[in-house]
Symmetry: C2
DNA sequence: CCTCGCTGCAACAGTTTCTGTTACACCCTG
DNA sequence: CAGGGTGTAACAGAAACTGTTGCAGCGAGG
């Protein structure tokens, strides 16, 4: 159960907010979003809270409270969503520092950091090329 | 401690095998590799076992046992290493199936799979562009 | 002003994954 | 055939994520 579904949950929530708004619902509550994702309302609030801190959604308190997008779905990329909810890199270096008396142990960390940085850059470029509007459009055609 | 350092450990082991071979050591034992990585010999045997099943290293049993590369370090890409030791994708879909009565819940999984597949493809292309020889060269220049 | 619905957040349990450790059977070179 | 090293299973500990409960706080509307 430990695999990262945060980007999935957050994107699902955003797409649902976008569709509901288009259908005339001003806001959705975390319960309503949780019903579509089939998850817990607290999980959804945690995720939407991250998105709020990143400026991607807005929240309304009091009676008639709920969430809505803070900007058009065409202007929210999955990279922004990823950075908002999950900042963990795909690869980690050594847990304990390698043996510095070995030439490989001494120099391998910067060498691997370079490779990992390029991999992460490629990943980010791909995520930046997809928006919530793209996902929603593809979602509705299937 | 749960972050994935498997690709790091395996690449470190391969680079060390390559350098030791160049220096005249026919094979290295898992203890010798563990001394450079500063990890446990069993961890190294697990990692090298994965690489052996992928055909990237060879093992010799009996007295004078140990490990060596099965091919030139220029012909081992980090993508092969990654596939040998760690087949887990960076993003997961929903843990429990979303609500199929919601239009978003119904269609979002294939939509996200498409995006995630493109991201993974970009990652794999980048990993395929770096070899153990590249990493070793960069390691020794720092 | 007060009520009520929803958010915000802390605390905790359960699951999974990964590293590390011990133990032991097995293999094969010398 | 002896001994060093591999192969593998079993288990402990740490970390991350999801899920759950509980409760304080906010504010729109009566």
């Amino acid at each position: 159960m430990a695999a990262n579904s945060r980007l999935t949950v957050a994107t699902h929530a955003l797409a649902w907010l976008a569709l509901a708004h288009r259908r005339g619902h001003e806001v959705l509550t975390s319960e309503q979003v949780a019903a579509s994702v089939k998850s817990n309302a607290v999980i959804i609030r945690r995720s939407l809270g991250d998105l709020r801190r990143a400026g991607l959604v807005e929240v309304r308190h009091g009676a008639g409270a709920g969430w809505r997008l803070a900007r058009a779905p065409e202007e929210i990329t999955l990279l922004q969503v990823h950075d908002a909810v999950d900042a963990r890199p795909p690869f980690a270096l050594h847990h304990s520092e390698p043996n510095l008396e070995c030439p490989v142990g001494r120099g391998i960390r910067p060498a691997l950091s370079g490779v990992y940085g390029r991999v992460e850059g490629a990943m980010r470029r791909e995520l930046a090329g997809a928006t919530v509007a793209d996902v929603l459009r593809e979602t509705l055609t299937s």
